[in-house]
């Protein structure tokens, strides 16, 4: 006779998992597999960046000097802080402190929005200074061609990073709602945990973008 599945079935446990522990591990592993594809996705861009920077080091240094360093530094601190609030939200979910999770998720979203706001200000400055590659691009004549490559990479890399931030904000909004209506419990905190993995990954991408785009040859000026 088959055992009665309802007898020991936790409401949060999907029927194809043996127990909550296995379900949790599968969720986290699945997210990590996705993040591997993300590592290689951004990795390709970092490879292109490295090749062009090694070919045109002077143009890259000159173009990097045009970056708004205080904005990039502030954004690094903002993102690292959002990773802290995210980690604390995950911890609160693990111990089942529902209100604390919501506060930390809200803080994470606010910091994410602050990052995008500062980024938007930077893009505005770069548009105003004619640093967007294309017909209107202006730069000192010696480096004008190769500085465009730097700015193309800058806009693609930070743009894709910002897109990931926007997706992350959407994810956090859904998580906030799930906590609100009680889907997330102490036994079923995986959605918050794997959303956290995604958020931290996006933070790591920025950790590499910041010195590579903003700080090339800073000592020269």
């Amino acid at each position: 006779m088959l055992p009665d599945p309802a007898a020991h079935h936790h409401p949060a446990l999907a029927h194809h998992f043996a127990d909550l522990e296995q379900q949790k591990e599968a969720a986290s592993l699945g997210m990590w597999l996705f993040l591997v594809t993300e590592v290689l996705f951004f990795g390709g861009l970092f490879a292109v960046y490295s090749v062009y920077r090694s070919w045109y080091p002077e143009a890259f240094a000159a173009a990097s000097h045009e970056m708004v360093v205080w904005a990039g530094t502030t954004n690094t601190v903002v993102l690292i802080t959002s990773s802290l609030t995210m980690a604390l939200a995950v911890r609160a979910a693990q111990v089942g402190e529902r209100r604390v999770v919501m506060w930390f998720l809200a803080a994470t979203m606010l910091l994410g929005l602050a990052f995008l706001g500062i980024k938007a200000f930077e893009y505005y400055t770069e548009f105003a200074e004619h640093h967007v590659p294309g017909a209107g691009f202006e730069f000192e004549a010696t480096h004008v061609r190769h500085a465009q490559i730097f700015f193309s990479l800058y806009f693609v890399m930070t743009g894709l990073h910002a897109l990931h931030m926007i997706i992350g904000l959407g994810l956090m909004a859904v998580m906030f709602q799930w906590v609100w209506r009680g889907t997330i419990t102490r036994e079923y905190s995986s959605p918050i945990e794997i959303s956290g993995l995604y958020w931290h990954f996006v933070d790591i991408v920025w950790i590499f973008l910041f010195p590579l785009l903003y700080l090339i040859g800073r000592h020269a000026h």
């Binding site: 592993l29 090694s54 693990q94 990954f201 950790i207 700080l215 800073r218």
Partner: protein
């Protein structure tokens, strides 16, 4: 990934280290270290990424299978970078012709 709940203190400590590292990255860029500027910037970035992965992303306390996937991502990134650089960064080395 067992139900290993880290004390809040761990997260605050990692946060403090990340802030110190950000300050170091910013400061070290103003010293002329030649090629070592990039090495220093990347070394600090790799260290920061490692502590985020180990503590914020809980990999230190994860199953071996998760470790394999994480290390695998770095390994494949290594292949991608090594084979790309092997071509593009050595084209100038040609001395014949």
């Amino acid at each position: 990934m067992s139900d290993h709940i880290l004390p809040k203190r761990t997260y605050y400590t990692i946060y403090a280290i990340l802030l110190v590292c950000t300050y170091l990255t910013w400061q070290v860029a103003f010293f002329d270290l030649g090629a070592l500027n990039t090495v220093a910037a990347l070394a600090i970035a790799v260290f920061k990424a490692a502590i985020v992965v180990l503590f914020f992303m809980h990999v230190k306390y994860s199953t071996r299978l998760t470790w394999i996937v994480v290390v695998g991502s770095v390994f494949w990134l290594g292949i991608l970078l090594a084979l790309t650089f092997n071509d593009y960064l050595t084209r100038g080395w040609r001395t014949y012709g």
